[in-house]
């Protein structure tokens, strides 16, 4: 679709900006509209240059209306269209919105719930707790949950998201306060959602899905920032729970619908792109607005999904622990999205600008005093939840003023893959991995040994290394490290 010569950047093409930041200048390829920047240390930089993710990053720097630079987080890895771990902001009104820049699992994200009990108190009952979680939280592709929605009720989910779950008794008011966008993404309009998306989503609210999605019971293994931890209600050795999932088949269908439709739209606007998965439309165009309305519906679907799952997790804790220990009730620490395009105001070159910020495999990390934070967190900044690979550590971070200055208020989202799923399957046996995890005291519940093997920790980068880079670069601050004691997967 373009005449620019495609090639994969090498070390020689990079300019080091700071200790943990590298730039691919615009001169690297003639179709770049902005430079591209990568946050990494030496080893993570080698990983980023080891597959096609850096070429994909350069491709995103060609999007019309891009502001400052295309950004890659240290967990960058090869995706399709955008790399996973990419951030691109476009200026409004003429900059573009790209469905492929959000991805198929719209508002895939992570929620952290915290008990008042210690992991030591929970551990005698861990086997039963894990089994309850596996039974109460349906998993697998195409799996249906307890809730089947008629059209009018589904519309309410799509428009209201978290607010719908509160009306239906699945949420507490404080849960929504501690959810990105307070659980309701503005701009949702079901009119722009296809019949197929509805059919796929109708019975999937309250289901975990497959792939790398999971529920994990963790213990708080280390506190780095006592003050922030206290604000978030976290303490050492506490039992906490992470839920990682998104908008299920509904979001996939929304993305599919618009990526297919934009194949012609992109020509209508005379936009040339190096990869058809990057197709886009000017944000303020009819097509761009239609996608944004539909994407917001999928975002609300995902907020509702994680909230219903949180309800199922609370029920599991009660069933397994009530009468045995106190402090099993779970409060919500926060809920973040890591696949989303959002309209935000940022200061660029001293000027306030309205931008469409695409984060694909990247997390919003707003610093202290930012709009959009609940009152009780305004002074410390937004909590950021970074799940590690299975069986390894996860992190709780907070956003900083540095993220506002450098990355449009964004940071990393996880460990980032280094092995293909095919390689993981060939190298790791699911049954053996399960045994190894259980020998380390981690309860494992899964329906698919192949799925378990593909998510083996060896297939991922070292999450601690990723988190160290964003902390040293000043775009997030470490609050706590979590270690798993039970893993529930599809």
């Amino acid at each position: 679709m373009t005449t620019a010569k495609r090639s994969i950047p090498t070390r020689r093409d990079l300019v080091q900006v700071t200790q943990h930041l590298w730039e691919i200048p615009r001169s690297f390829r003639s179709d770049m509209r902005a430079p591209a920047r990568l946050y990494a240390d030496e080893a993570l930089l080698d990983d980023a240059l080891g597959d096609r993710s850096s070429e994909q990053l350069v491709n995103t720097a060609t999007l019309p209306g891009i502001v400052r630079y295309a950004i890659a987080m240290p967990d960058i890895h090869q995706g399709y269209g955008f790399p996973i771990g990419g951030v691109v902001a476009t200026r409004l009104p003429d900059g573009v919105i790209s469905p492929g820049g959000v991805g198929y699992d719209i508002n895939c994200g992570v929620r952290l719930l915290a008990s008042e009990a210690s992991a030591g108190e929970v551990s005698p009952f861990l086997a039963e707790l894990a089994s309850r979680l596996y039974r109460n939280c349906p998993s697998g592709v195409g799996v249906h949950g307890e809730i089947k929605l008629q059209d009018s009720e589904l519309d309410k989910v799509l428009v209201e998201g978290g607010r719908w779950t509160e009306e239906r008794g699945y949420a507490r008011a404080e849960d929504l306060q501690h959810t990105e966008e307070f659980g309701t993404m503005p701009g949702a309009d079901p009119e722009y959602v296809s019949h197929k998306a509805r059919e796929r989503g109708r019975a999937q609210v309250g289901t975990l899905g497959a792939g790398n999605h999971f529920i994990e019971v963790d213990r708080v293994a280390e506190i780095f920032d006592e003050t922030a931890a206290e604000f978030l209600g976290l303490f050492a050795d506490q039992a906490v729970v992470q839920i990682h999932c998104g908008s299920r088949g509904f979001g996939h269908q929304v993305c599919e619908d618009y990526v297919a439709r934009f194949q012609t739209t992109v020509h209508d606007y005379g936009i040339e792109l190096p990869d058809r998965e990057l197709v886009c439309a000017p944000f303020e165009s009819e097509e761009g607005q239609q996608y944004f309305h539909a994407m917001a519906c999928a975002a609300n679907f995902a907020f509702a999904n994680r909230q219903v799952l949180a309800h199922c997790v609370r029920r599991s804790f009660e069933q397994a622990l009530a009468g045995k220990i106190s402090g099993f009730d779970l409060h919500q620490v926060y809920d973040i999205a890591h696949n989303m395009a959002k309209i935000e105001e940022h200061v660029v070159g001293g000027t306030h600008m309205r931008l469409c910020v695409h984060r694909k495999g990247a997390t919003r990390a707003f610093g202290p005093g930012s709009p959009g934070l609940p009152d009780d967190l305004r002074d410390i900044g937004q909590p950021v939840l970074i799940p590690g690979s299975m069986g390894t550590a996860s992190y709780v971070l907070i956003g900083t003023l540095g993220s506002m200055e450098q990355t449009f208020g964004s940071t990393c989202h996880g460990a980032g893959r280094v092995w293909s799923r095919a390689r993981a399957r060939k190298t790791v046996r699911g049954q053996q991995l399960r045994q190894e995890l259980e020998e380390r005291g981690i309860a494992v519940r899964t329906g698919s040994m192949q799925g378990l093997a593909e998510e083996a920790p060896q297939a991922y980068k070292d999450v601690s290394r990723v988190v160290d880079v964003v902390a040293r670069a000043g775009i997030s601050k470490k609050v706590a490290r979590l270690e798993p004691i039970a893993v529930i997967k599809a």
Binding site: D51, S53, H77, Q78, G79, Y80, G81, I84, G100, G103, Y104, D105, G140, V141, G142, V143, K196, E199, R200, A210, G211, G249, H252, Q253, C255, E256, V259, A260, Q263, T264, D275, R276, E277, V279, R417, V418, W419, S420, R421, A422, R423, R425, K426, G447, S448, Q450, G451, E454, A490
Partner: protein
């Protein structure tokens, strides 16, 4: 399904997701083989035992869009109808239209299934043997 090396489609390495290459002597065979590859990656054995048939019709503005729409339609049917397919007969095909009869059986999804077929670097191209394409899917 591990290390698929069957004649008309083959899994290829991709860091985050799955990818495979399909080929065919003409477009009809290419599109049928792409569908076989899609289901083989998900663990279908290509069994000839089928108990149901569906007719599928899709359109697209070009060969690539037609291919993505065809494969995504099969994934949509797999998920919503809870079926798996192993036999793909292309009844009519042009650059922009495809009509096919697919045969399969009821299937309760277990574990990993493909969620979507992407346009990433997608190009249906002519080869010495006929046609080929490399497809990246989201899992």
């Amino acid at each position: 399904m591990r290390g698929i090396a069957i004649q008309h489609f083959k899994e290829i390495e991709h860091t985050a997701d799955w990818a495979f290459r399909a080929c065919g002597r003409d477009l009809a065979q290419l599109y049928a083989n792409a569908a076989r590859g899609l289901f083989a990656l998900q663990g279908s054995t290509g069994s000839s035992e089928t108990s149901l048939a569906r007719e599928v019709a899709v359109s697209g503005v070009d060969r690539e869009t037609l291919l993505v729409n065809w494969l995504n339609e099969l994934l949509y049917l797999q998920e919503t109808q809870r079926e798996t397919y192993s036999c793909f007969e292309i009844l009519e095909i042009s650059e922009t239209q495809l009509r096919a009869r697919v045969r399969g059986r009821p299937h309760r999804p277990e574990g990993k299934l493909i969620k979507a077929v992407t346009f990433h670097d997608l190009e249906v191209r002519q080869s010495e043997e006929g046609w080929e394409v490399a497809i990246v899917v989201d899992v």
